[in-house]
C-alpha cells in the first residue's frame, strides 16, 4: 500500500528561500503553519470585535438608553446590527477560522507526518478569500444605512427587502461576506480531506490517526455536504435583495420558508462542524494529561460519524413555530432527542478516559475539563428545546440564548483556549506562563456561568430575544428581571477584563517566554517530534509510524508514553 522507504523531507530547491522578504514569508506563504496562524490571528481579532459588540449591547439591555462607554448611545438599528454581527462573527469569523482552519491547517500535516498540505497554493487562496470576506463584512458596517441587522439567520422578507431592514447595502454585503467565507472553507476543506485521506505517513493506517485530525476531517465533510444548498440559497437571496427577483416572496411565486429550510439544513450540521474540532482538541489534551489511552477510540470515531449523519436529520427543530406541518415537527423532535445520545456517549467516553488516570491540572487540562462540564450543561438544556411542545414556549426566548451559549462558548472559546495553551510551545517554541494561565482560566469560567445562568431563568419567565429595550414590556421590566440582566452584564464585563491577562500572557510568552523543547508534554503524536517551532517542510526526514496515537502507560515500558514514530 504505502511505501515504507523513508522520504527525505529536507528542503528541495525552490523551498530554500529562507531569507525571502517579510511580505512573502508572512503574507504570501504557502506554508500550512503560516496560513494556520493567519487564520488564527484573524479569528482572534474578529473575536475581540464581536466581544466588544456583546459588551455594548449587553450594556444597553442592562441599562437601557445609557451612553455606553467607548460606543455611545445605542439606537434600535445599532442594537440589531450589533446582535446580528456578534452572532455572525462568532460563528463564521471566529469559531470556523480558529477551530477548523487554524488548528486544522497547523495540525493535519504535522499529525499525519506530512511536509505540508497536498495543495499549498489552494490553501493560500482559501485564506485570501477568507480575509476578503472579513474585509467585506467590516466594510458593511460603514456603508450608508449601516451593518445588517436582520439576525445572523437572515430570514426573508426582512433580509430581502431594503424597505424593511433599512440597511440595503449592509444586507447585501453581509450575504456576500458569508458566501465568500463559504467558498474559502470549501477550498480549505477539500485540502484537509484529501491530505488526511491520501497523504499520511508510511505506516499510518486510518485508525492510527489522532482524534483531532479525524474530527477536523469529519467536520470538513459535514461542512461540504451541508453548505451547498445554502450557497444556492444565498445567491437567491442576493438576487432578491438586488435584482428584484422573488425567490422568497410568496406574492411572486416564491417561499420565505425555503430560506429557513436551506439555512438550517446547513445550520444544524454547522454546529457539529464547529463542535467536532473542539472535541478533538479536548481528546488530545485529556489523554496527554491523564497519561491514558483514549477510552474507546474507535467508538468515538464511529459515534462521531453517526452524529454527523444524524445531524442532517434534525434541522427543522429551529422551525417548530415557523408554521411547518406539526407532523413534520414530530419527526424532528424524535430525531433531535435521539442525536443527544451519541454526544452524551462521547462525553461518557471522555470521562472514562479520565477515570483512573494520572491527572495533572495544567492550564490546557483545566480548559479541557471545563469544556466537558460546560458543554454538558449546554447539551442537556438542548433537550428541552428539541421537544417541540416545550419549544413552543421557549422558542425565541433567552432560554435558547443560554442554551446555545453553553454549547458555543465551550466550543469557540474554551476549546480554542485548550488548544492554544496546549500547542503554543509547538507553534511558537516558547512556553506560556502557567500562573497567568490559571488566573485567566478561573477569571473566565466563573463569570461565564454568571453571564448565562440568569438567562435560563429569564427565558423561563418569557423574556424574548432580540429586544432592544425591555422597559417597553411591563411584565419583563420587574426588579428581579432587571437585576438578572444587570448580573449578566456585569459578569460579562468582568470576563472581558480577564481576557487581557491572556493577551498579555500570549504576547509576552511569544516574545520572551522560556524556550520550549520538542515535546514538553510528553505526548505520542507526530507533531511533537518536530522542532518547536517546526521548520518549513516540518522534518528533515519524514517520520514513519508504527503504532496508534494513544499508547500511554503501556506496561513494561520505561516511560509512560510511546511516540508513534518510535521503532518498536
Amino acid at each position: 500500500m504505502a511505501e515504507i522507504a523513508h522520504e527525505h523531507g529536507h528542503l528541495p530547491a525552490g523551498h530554500g528561500h529562507a531569507e525571502s522578504n517579510w511580505f512573502i514569508k508572512y503574507l504570501w506563504s504557502t506554508d500550512h503553519k503560516v496560513i494556520a496562524l493567519q487564520y488564527m490571528f484573524t479569528g482572534m481579532f474578529m473575536a475581540m470585535i464581536a466581544g466588544f459588540m456583546a459588551y455594548v449591547f449587553r450594556m444597553q439591555i442592562a441599562y437601557p438608553g445609557m451612553n455606553v462607554p467607548f460606543f455611545g448611545h445605542v439606537s434600535p438599528g445599532s442594537y440589531n446590527a450589533l446582535i446580528t454581527n456578534h452572532g455572525s462573527i462568532m460563528v463564521f469569523w471566529v469559531a470556523m477560522p480558529v477551530l477548523l482552519a487554524g488548528f486544522g491547517n497547523f495540525l493535519i500535516p504535522l499529525m499525519c507526518g506530512c511536509d505540508d498540505m497536498v495543495f499549498p497554493r489552494i490553501n493560500r487562496l482559501s485564506y485570501q478569500l477568507f480575509f476578503i470576506s472579513a474585509v467585506v463584512l467590516i466594510v458593511s458596517w460603514f456603508v450608508p444605512g449601516g451593518g445588517f441587522g436582520g439576525a445572523w439567520t437572515a430570514y426573508p422578507p426582512l433580509s430581502a427587502v431594503g424597505k424593511y431592514n433599512l440597511t440595503p447595502m449592509g444586507s447585501s454585503l453581509w450575504v456576500l461576506a458569508v458566501a465568500l467565507e463559504f467558498v474559502a472553507f470549501l477550498l480549505g476543506g477539500i485540502n484537509f480531506i484529501v491530505t488526511a485521506m491520501n497523504a499520511r505517513a508510511p505506516g499510518m493506517k486510518a485508525f492510527d490517526v489522532p482524534l483531532a485530525v479525524w474530527m477536523i476531517v469529519v467536520a470538513s465533510l459535514l461542512f461540504m455536504a451541508s453548505v451547498g444548498p445554502l450557497i444556492a440559497g444565498a445567491v437567491m437571496l442576493l438576487f432578491d435583495q438586488n435584482l428584484g427577483t422573488g425567490f422568497y416572496n410568496p406574492t411572486r411565486g416564491g417561499d420565505p420558508v425555503l430560506w429557513q429550510h436551506l439555512f438550517w439544513f446547513f445550520g444544524h450540521p454547522e454546529v457539529y462542524v464547529v463542535l467536532l474540532p473542539a472535541m478533538g482538541i479536548v481528546a488530545e489534551v485529556i489523554t496527554v494529561f491523564s497519561r491514558k489511552k483514549m477510552f474507546g477510540y474507535k467508538t468515538v470515531i464511529y459515534t462521531v460519524v453517526a452524529t454527523g449523519v444524524l445531524s442532517f436529520f434534525v434541522w427543522a427543530h429551529h422551525q417548530f413555530v415557523a408554521g411547518i406541518d406539526p407532523r413534520m415537527a414530530n419527526v424532528f423532535t424524535v430525531t433531535t432527542v435521539i442525536i443527544s445520545i451519541p454526544i452524551a456517549e462521547m462525553c461518557f467516553l471522555y470521562i472514562a478516559t479520565l477515570y483512573g488516570g494520572s491527572i495533572t491540572f495544567t492550564t490546557p487540562m483545566l480548559w479541557a475539563l471545563a469544556f466537558i462540564a460546560e458543554f454538558l450543561i449546554g447539551g442537556v438544556t438542548g433537550i428541552y428545546l428539541g421537544a417541540s411542545g416545550a419549544d413552543i414556549f421557549f422558542h425565541d426566548t433567552y432560554f435558547v440564548v443560554a442554551h446555545f451559549h453553553y454549547t458555543f462558548y465551550p466550543i469557540a472559546i474554551i476549546g480554542t483556549l485548550a488548544g492554544i495553551t496546549f500547542w503554543f510551545p509547538k507553534i511558537f517554541g516558547k512556553m506560556m506562563n502557567e500562573t497567568m494561565g490559571k488566573i485567566h482560566f478561573w477569571g473566565t469560567i466563573i463569570p461565564f456561568n454568571f453571564i448565562f445562568i440568569p438567562m435560563f431563568f429569564l427565558g423561563m419567565e418569557g423574556e424574548h430575544r432580540r429586544i432592544y429595550d425591555y422597559t417597553n414590556f411591563p411584565d419583563l421590566a420587574n426588579p428581579w428581571a432587571v437585576s438578572m440582566r444587570i448580573t449578566s452584564t456585569v459578569a460579562l464585563v468582568v470576563m472581558l477584563l480577564f481576557q487581557f491577562i491572556f493577551l498579555f500572557n500570549f504576547i509576552y510568552s511569544m516574545l520572551r517566554g522560556p524556550k520550549a523543547e520538542k515535546n514538553p508534554w510528553k505526548s505520542n503524536t507526530l507533531e511533537w517530534t518536530a522542532d518547536s517551532p517546526p521548520p518549513h517542510g516540518n522534518w528533515r526526514e519524514m517520520p514513519t509510524v508504527y503504532r496508534g496515537p494513544y499508547e500511554y502507560a503501556t506496561p513494561g515500558r520505561e516511560t509512560d508514553y510511546w511516540p508513534q514514530d518510535e521503532r518498536a
Binding site: A225, G246, N249, T251
Partner: protein, 147 residues
C-alpha cells in the same frame, strides 16, 4: 476489457499521466459512445413531438439518466474508479434526495389554511415592490393550487 492490475506505488513524475495505484485506462471507442449519446439526444427531442405527456417525461428524463450514466461510466471512468469515490458521490446524491423529501411537504404546497401562493408571473420588468405583485396575473391562475 478493463484492467484490474494495480500500477506499482511510486510517486507521480511530472510527465507521467499515471498516478500511484492507477489501473490502466481501458481502450474504449469514445466516438462510438458519443454517437450513442447523440442518438439519445434525438430521442429526447422527438419524445415531446408525440404529444403524450408521460411519454415525453419518460423520454426526457429517462434519456437524461441514461446519458448521465454513460458519461459517468465511459468518460469519467467511474466504473474503474475506486469504491470510495462511488460512496462519496452516492452520499451527495442521497443528501439531495433527502433535501427534496424533507422540504417538499412544506415548500411544494401551493395552499394551506387561509393562504394560497401566487403564481407570480409578470411579463414586463418589475422592481421588487411586493404590493405590485399579482397585477398581471391571469384569471385562471387563481384557481391553481397543489396538483
Amino acid at each position: 476489457m478493463t484492467s484490474t492490475a494495480h500500477a506499482p506505488a511510486h510517486g507521480t513524475a511530472h510527465g507521467s499521466a499515471h498516478g500511484p495505484g492507477d489501473a490502466h485506462a481501458p481502450h474504449r471507442n469514445y466516438v462510438k459512445i458519443w454517437g450513442i449519446l447523440c442518438a439519445l439526444l434525438v430521442v429526447s427531442v422527438v419524445g415531446p413531438m408525440l404529444g403524450i405527456r408521460w411519454v415525453m417525461l419518460i423520454t426526457a428524463f429517462g434519456v437524461a439518466l441514461v446519458k448521465a450514466y454513460m458519461v459517468a461510466k465511459n468518460f469519467m471512468h467511474l466504473d474503474i474508479e475506486k469504491p470510495i469515490v462511488h460512496w462519496i458521490l452516492l452520499v451527495a446524491l442521497a443528501l439531495m434526495v433527502l433535501l427534496y423529501g424533507a422540504l417538499a411537504p412544506d415548500v411544494q404546497k401551493g395552499e394551506g389554511t387561509g393562504w394560497k401562493k401566487d403564481a407570480g408571473f409578470h411579463h414586463s420588468f418589475v422592481t421588487s415592490k411586493p404590493h405590485e405583485a399579482g397585477k398581471h396575473e391571469k384569471p385562471e391562475n387563481a384557481e391553481h393550487g397543489k396538483p
